[in-house]
Symmetry: C2
DNA sequence: CTCGCAATACCTCATTGGAGGTAGCACGAC
DNA sequence: GTCGTGCTACCTCCAATGAGGTATTGCGAG
């Protein structure tokens, strides 16, 4: 029996590439293509695929939220992330949300196929370059919601005083949050904290 | 006679997608795939394609440098950029380097095909979402080499004093550069200057 | 029930950062 | 030759930032 796969990616070119790779395999069957998270959730309900290939950062509902929704309804669904983003925060969030694999788009075609097959077989798929990021000296960093909020405003160039105003707190509180942020990210100042956070996928430019 | 196309992209999945899209067209022929800029330059020498589809930001030689090299040797070569990055600085640099088209990866498959055909026919290919960025209120910003250098260091969290030390200048000079940078980018402070520059493709995180 | 932690707020202090102005020098464009 | 511009450097001044510290509240885990 063949492995049914649902592709979820907002780039038509990428979808075409994955489809081309998988349809060459006699034991695989692409049952649908979704272009964002919400569509992905709906289509996996409809087609009940063995494996969902999922991009992160799509317009509308992103991949992480989609993974959570799918896993909530179908805890046994196999979801493999296929994305260009290699920030360790993204990897952690995806796996925490319930993904069973994480591939980067510079993965060779053959390896994508193998990953789908392994995922369908119930195995975890974490290639060594990705696994490296998980283990690396970057010890798992969790910013609190408040800290994320403050950091996002700092990235937009707001001064502590202005951040305090928009979140309805005192400037001193904002300073403490930023101090914790810089400490957690091992940043010398707010500017480096922002670049580190962007690099590791902790915040995004389009907030 | 069919249109010969060279694909240059570091993502195997994307290459497969483009190949799948173009080989469906009877008048198109994918003559090769390169995975970085240097390979792209070499392969277009070898295969003399009508159109080169070029990604930006590849490991080793990037797309911009590759476009410059190709155009220097073959001013009539048609080069179409196909990338995920929509910062206006990237678009400007690519067109300045000699690209005759600029597509984003969220372009529909059919439009990619049309773009290749138009490029081969000698027409410029700037879809409206991209053209929008060119015209947009973002009036072309050019940072000087020194300013780019200073901004990159600022992004890494160096203080003005430290930036001054590594570039062998006084702190006051660094301040002036940063002042000009913030003025050009319309940023409230160095932190916003960094995020704006990252967003618009003026600097990259992996400097 | 405690313990830990997030979030809040206050304090002091030294350093940094950014606004404003002026000005010399080198180089390329016109 | 002159103009514009990039790069350099100096000056002053005040606001903002970051490093220390302490402490209260509330909440969830154990």
């Amino acid at each position: 029996m063949s492995i049914s796969v649902l592709i979820t990616d907002d780039h038509p070119v990428v979808r075409a590439g994955i489809r081309a790779l998988l349809t060459n395999e006699p034991d695989m069957d692409v049952v649908g293509e979704a272009s964002d998270g919400a569509e992905g959730v709906a289509m996996q309900q409809e087609f009940d695929p063995d494996v969902v290939l999922m991009d992160l950062r799509m317009p509308g509902m992103g991949g992480i939220a989609a993974i959570r929704e799918i896993r909530a309804a179908h805890p046994d669904r196999r979801i493999v992330v296929l994305t260009t983003y290699d920030g360790d925060a993204d990897i952690h969030r995806a796996l925490d949300a319930g993904a069973c694999g994480y591939l980067l788009k510079d993965t060779l075609g053959r390896e994508v196929v193998n990953a789908v097959r392994n995922a369908a077989g119930g195995r975890k798929v974490i290639p060594s370059p990705v696994a490296g990021r998980l283990a690396e000296y970057t010890p798992r960093v969790d910013l609190t919601p408040r800290e994320l909020e403050v950091l996002a405003y700092a990235a937009k160039g707001l001064r502590n005083k202005d951040i305090a105003r928009v979140i309805g707190r005192t400037e001193e509180t904002v300073k403490v949050h930023l101090k914790h942020i810089m400490s957690k990210l091992d940043a010398a100042d707010r500017t480096e904290a922002v670049t580190i956070a962007l690099q590791r996928g902790i915040i995004h430019i389009d907030d």
